[in-house]
Symmetry: C2
Subunit: 234 residues, 2 copies
Amino acid sequence: MTTPARLASAAALIADPARAAMLQALMAGEALTAGELARSAGIAPSTASAHLAALTDGGLVAVHAQGRHRWFRIASEDVAAILESLMGLAEATRPARRWPHGEALHAARTCWDHLAGRLGVALHEGLVSRGVLRPAPGGWETTAAGDALLERLGVDLDAARRARRFACDCMDWSERRPHLGGGLARAICTLYLARGWVRRQPGEGLARRLVAPTPEGSRVLREAFGVRLDAEAA
Amino acid sequence: MTTPARLASAAALIADPARAAMLQALMAGEALTAGELARSAGIAPSTASAHLAALTDGGLVAVHAQGRHRWFRIASEDVAAILESLMGLAEATRPARRWPHGEALHAARTCWDHLAGRLGVALHEGLVSRGVLRPAPGGWETTAAGDALLERLGVDLDAARRARRFACDCMDWSERRPHLGGGLARAICTLYLARGWVRRQPGEGLARRLVAPTPEGSRVLREAFGVRLDAEAA
DNA sequence: TCTTCATTTCCGGCGGCGGCGAAGCACCGC
DNA sequence: GCGGTGCTTCGCCGCCGCCGGAAATGAAGA
């Protein structure tokens, strides 16, 4: 197979509305069953099964069979980053059109397993400008002072370091600037959800990705990293 | 139109082999005419015309009409970065398969208007570890010492600063680590080609993206940035 | 003005892919 | 063991999108 054909077939996996809907739902970071994904995309289970086989075969999603359920999730942070940047392309072509949750998604959402949107970008900037992170080959590393601050907050740095990448940039489609990805970003997001500093919104499909900082969360963001979020929402 | 459909239609623009081939050819950074792109993709001019209209309409390529020719180029560095990362997805799914110029493309190529591959990644690392660049919100900025070094080499920093982004990360599909993008990366690439420090290889389509450092270029890379390239090639 | 050439528009044809339902398979609980 | 449930396989249908050729358009050159 020649190279252009391979680029095309990789894109073709995302180019179907039903598959795109399933990928969007999975971008919330949680694993979902085949049935849930079929409902979320509005197609018959048999059709969804074929789509999921294609996505798995193409390396976009990973499966975990458990009993009579099959749980699907985004295969890797690389895949998540690619989907995130492709949404930027979709956004750029028709910037005027507003969709449900549009403004809320811009404000704060998850990107697979970490925080994105204005919240994610501001957090990234705060971590750098406060000297928690400094650049390293292929991404970022923590300073000694940064380690101390993160551990005081309760971030699981050991888990973060076990990831394939510790901290790297992930292009944010709504802000068109990078937010933080990698193991550290996941650990921070996990902590924020566990402590109730940000809360997931109810919903299905794309709405699964919505989060909102609680008052307590806003205070932590401001005091620890100097992140100030304007209070308006959709 | 709902969001999954928009993600899908953005991906669909890349999901056709003929369009993918044209985009690959344009990723060399130069503008090409509709006829050249038709030949490069192996399709009739009429078919190519329809494809190019779709790509233009979708914001992936930009047109410049001059006389009876129409010159097409990649629309922006964002688009180039997305195509580059999608190639990583194509690469990841079938890593074993080798294509023409495979190893040479991994070693050194252009990504739209800047350097990529092992050369591009090593250059990025060299710039950071030598203290030429330091992190800034949304990307990188030069240090005072860095400015002096780059100007001594002949890099057009004024032109670089006029770009929408001065210096940012661009995910390298073959190395799976970022190389440098933005105005600075373009200025450096332009200088290297003008001075004959790297040379384009002859060819068409994907091969347009191939470059190779000359002996003089290897010396400059080593002395200025500490970049040492292993000499093997395909 | 007439010719030439790059590009576009229109058209008919066709292949491929997504869609569903029915049947088959695997696993769980009773 | 037996029904219920989640998922997959199979077969078939309909439609969308890609294709090239012929004719039209528009700009360059003689």
